[in-house]
Amino acid sequence: MSIAAAPEQAADDLPGDGPGERLLVVRNLTKHFPITKGALLRRRVGDIHAVDDLSFTVQRGETFGLVGESGCGKSTTARLILKLLTATSGEVEFDGRSIFPLGASETRRLRAEMQVVFQDPFASLNPRHTVRHIVAEPMIVQGKPRKEARARVEELLLLCGLSREHASRYPHEFSGGQRQRIGVARALALSPKLVILDEPVSALDVSIQAQIVNLLEDLQAQLGLTYVFIAHDLSVVRHISDKVGVMYLGELVEVTDRDRLYEQPKHPYTVALLSAVPVPDPHKERLRQRIILTGDVPSPADPPPACRFHTRCWKAQDVCRTIKPPLEQKTPGHWAACHFPETTAGPLNS
């Protein structure tokens, strides 16, 4: 039960593995941000444990959903995978290659294969550039001739449910949903294999969210894309993901198939999360018993020892405060990090 299993041994049983082929492998990924004191010497007085010892895989052609509350490290994980941040330790393997040791030019080539769509369609598009410029830019950066890039822009806009005429307009002329379509078109410009979607629909109105979710699904089917879908909205994640990982305070606490996670959650935190989300069904709501967690999420600068959830867990025993539960398979294909995993059906089934 040691956490430090040899990588060779872990090769066939990382969370998220299945019958498919691995496109992305994350091993023991860790990111600590230093907390410094003093303006001049900037003494290091501590660390924010943003992401701690994360291991999971994403299968080719699948959608891996990553959920958790704000500050749990979802977005930091995305930025580490994209090499937008330098990891403290750990490894990310993309399409069979370890990406952290790659040099600048190789990284640039790699970026063509993994793209990102951000949450805020208002902040992620340059207001002074036309849509044509915005969508063509990644292609030009990668050395595609301008003429070809521009021709491809129209194709991409059509693919994402926009029209040719939109190419010469500016971002402010579009609604939130349309802007997110532009963001998706830009991410697809280089025909990536992996797209990381960081809260792609949470800034949008309910009736528009469904349009974008459908677009993403259509594009995945059409282009054989692999997604990492990061969100705090557990309903959307259930709809779009094949597998789901739940994060708490920088760590993965549970990983399994979509329906298994929602129907038979094993980690108490997952149970509490599912029980906290209100469902749009008054009859069910009247009958539901909520598990209301006490207190707030502890600070990642000083995470609780052993199981990080023990301070808020109603099942916590002494062992939870002293020995860290490893993320291990409780049943085949169902990983959870808990000494006392749930065995009954989850809060949504009762």
Partner: protein, 363 residues
């Protein structure tokens, strides 16, 4: 029948913009009964917040202007009383909880001072009494160690605790109505569950009614007893939660219900979004405001604005076709055979008639 606590009649609020006056709220009417939780749902720009702010006269005038309508608070029109009298009601009889707790708390005063201020603004009590009141209110909303935390500044509180502090402030004067505008939108789900629980218990403790404004249908399903659905400045459907969630008669309301992914159900194929986008309020569509996005739109919908049709009980829907056989949401169609529709309409009308004669019988 008890008299309504608040009755809003035909409220119209407009804003002056560069492109002319925009009708943010256009003929909204509803009633709130003592002690009930009344939900207002709608997407951004549907006019739900402006409705709430108009009730308390808190819309900035100008650029806003309350053009017409009555806001009857226990029978008195709040639009006709002086600013001085309105100030007595605000924060005392009617209080408000806003979305963003960081901007609604003053960072340079302690939480306790801010709650005491609200108490002392309306009641002649000593500083010590007001301070004691603040502590007991913080206790009601579940702040641990209220005696110590009362002297904290807002930055020492977490987001969830700040929102609780705002609720404490809102109930400090035993209001009859709390208006909560997206009270949990900025919070994480586990904290949202805590805060909604606190809001519900606070309302029960003070026996106060709540107007709960939100875009989250789940929140409304769990808390509200009656709901109004707003679209483009108008109420398009209103009724009990069961009316809205199980017997919706308005394509926008049922479209909204069916476009959301469900936490509690296995995937049922693709989502069914509402096409298009909410209309610009500068130039709202003629006829039914939803017609450009409505899959069932006919000529009549383009030409004529539908009224809010009474469907029995408190249920009203703004659609030309509410009485058309089979006029209910696709999901409901799968559950109930459409042949039973006419029987249900008849039963509804009989019930409405019965209620009316009964109320006429004993004035």
């Amino acid at each position: 029948m008890t008299a309504p606590l608040l009755a809003v009649r035909d409220l119209r609020t407009t804003f002056a913009t560069h492109s002319g006056r925009v009708g943010a709220v256009d003929g909204v009417s509803f009633e709130v009964m003592p002690g009930e939780i009344f939900g207002i749902v709608g997407e951004s720009g549907s006019g739900k917040s402006v409705t709430a702010l108009s009730i308390l006269g808190l819309v900035p005038q100008p650029p806003a202007k309350i053009e017409s309508g009555e806001i009857l608070w226990k029978g008195t029109d709040l639009r006709k009383i002086s600013e001085e009298e309105l100030r007595h009601i605000r924060g005392s009889d009617i209080s408000m909880v806003f979305q963003d707790p960081m901007t609604s708390l003053n960072p340079v005063y302690t939480i306790g001072e801010q709650i005491s201020d609200v108490v002392r603004a309306h009641k002649h009590v000593s500083r010590a009494e007001a301070h004691a009141r603040a502590i007991s209110m913080l206790d009601v909303v579940g702040i641990p160690n209220p005696r110590q935390r009362v002297d904290d500044y807002p930055h020492q509180f977490s987001g969830g605790m700040r929102q609780r502090a705002l609720i404490a402030m809102a109930i400090a004067n035993d209001p009859d109505l709390i208006i909560a505008d997206e009270p949990t939108t900025a919070l994480d789900v586990t904290i949202q569950a805590q805060v909604l629980d606190v809001l519900k218990r606070a309302a029960e403790t003070t026996n106060s009614a709540v107007i709960l404004i939100t875009h989250d249908l789940g929140v409304v399903a769990g808390l509200a007893s009656r709901v109004a659905v707003m679209y483009a400045g108008q109420i398009v459907e209103q009724g009990t939660v069961d009316d809205i969630f199980y017997r919706s008669r308005m394509p926008y309301a049922w479209g909204l219900m069916e476009s959301i992914a469900r936490l509690d159900q296995r995937r049922q194929g693709r989502l069914r979004p509402i096409d298009g986008q909410p209309p610009s309020m500068v130039n709202p569509p003629a006829g039914c405001r939803f017609h450009p996005r409505c899959p069932y739109s006919e000529d009549k919908c383009v030409q004529e604005q539908p009224a809010l049709v009474e469907l029995g009980g408190d249920h009203r829907a703004r659609c030309h076709f509410v009485y058309r056989p089979g006029w209910f949401s696709p999901a409901e169609r799968l559950v109930e055979p459409s042949s039973s529709w006419n029987e249900r309409i008849l039963a509804r009308e009989e019930e409405a008639e019965r209620v009316e004669t009964a109320s006429r019988g004993e004035p």
